[in-house]
Symmetry: C2
Subunit: 199 residues, 2 copies
DNA sequence: ACTAAATAGTATGGTTTCAAAACTATCTGA
DNA sequence: TCAGATAGTTTTGAAACCATACTATTTAGT
């Protein structure tokens, strides 16, 4: 009974917090794109990964990205290892405007929550997302922290604190451990990630 | 720092849970409309109130409603007291399809949260919404429960448990006490509701 | 090694959603 | 009575989106 109110609240809050129309010259979808490419790790900063994350088609994602590249918010680089693939990186201009993100109102509101509440709130949100993503058959993005592919604290190498991803078999920097990854796998109720690794 | 993750989670969860494209013959906006008219009280089931709630313009809301009326989900009635105004009510067809609402996945996920967590989660969500709505200058909808206009347990009438709204000066049924109202006013940090009462 | 299938990305056409503006009708208040 | 506010609609143009079709590259099966 009350769960329905919660669900509607989440949708409503998302709508209101997105801001109406274009803010600071960027549309809601473009803001979503910038947010994604700011948080995604290097394996995930591709049109396809963004499409999967954002719940849209590759065609639509491609258009959104085209606009962001044209406006100087993203820089496009062809992959060295895969001739089909492309990597997108935020430009300085993009990082500068991210402080005017219309989502900042919501960020501030969340920041005003008592720390203890905020932590539990965050955990509950992630749980909801995991459940909904599973049911909708969408991939769940996550960070190395809780990923089964993560191999921390290099066991067989000298030089302390060497991190590695067992899925793509590549070393990871400390920064990347907290970035979103499309190859994320929580282990337990393994989301059936078909296909090969994104790298 | 973590607050930004929370904000992005809420937006993302809202997107994913809305379902892609039309589900069961209804688009995401149409579903939002049905949800609204299912929860709003009789003072608030108008195109303008829906526009205010949904954070869109009256023109857009009008179009959405036109479609829902044409498809037999809403019934339009002209107001008896105000020649300009229109009242929208759900039809039986609408109530029937609401069980197929794509939001049900999220409802089920929320229902799976431990009761104690769910309650605190709900409170935190409402707090976030209040804060964001205030900052965005949007009206905050609410129920009689915490509204300053609510006058419960009729003091000057016989017949126990008579409820009334002091803003529109009309009697309220028990059902209406838990419905959303555009005239809601929490009192404390009174959102500046300009204009006259919706009735 | 060779070929078929899968994948990454893009382009195009048409639909839906939306905001902004212009408009009519009605109500309110001085 | 009349100016201004309000309720609702329509129109126009811009995004957002999906479906489809397409090229290029990679992977997998035999």
């Amino acid at each position: 009974m009350d769960s329905r109110v919660i669900a509607e609240l989440i949708l409503h809050l998302g709508r209101i917090a997105s801001g109406d129309g274009s803010v600071g010259g960027l549309t809601p979808v473009q803001w979503a794109g910038l947010r994604y490419f700011a948080r995604a790790n290097r394996f995930s900063r591709t049109p396809s990964a963004f499409a999967a994350f954002h719940g849209t088609t590759r065609g639509t994602a491609s258009q959104t990205i085209k606009g962001l590249v044209a406006d100087g918010y993203l820089k496009q680089t062809r992959s060295a290892t895969d001739g089909r693939s492309v990597r997108l990186d935020l430009t300085g201009k993009a990082r500068a405007v991210l402080s005017d993100d219309p989502i900042e109102a919501l960020v501030g509101a969340a920041d005003a929550l008592p720390p203890g509440v905020r932590d539990k709130f965050s955990v509950a949100l992630q749980r909801l997302l995991g459940s909904v993503a599973l049911q909708a058959g969408k991939p769940l993005f996550g960070t190395c922290e809780t990923c089964v592919h993560f191999q921390g604290d290099g066991c067989c190498r000298e030089g302390a604190n060497r991190y590695e991803c067992g899925f793509v078999n590549e070393a990871l920097t400390a920064d990347e451990l907290v970035q979103l990854c499309i190859n994320f796998n929580a282990g337990k109720t393994a989301p059936p990630r078909a296909g090969t690794a994104w790298r």
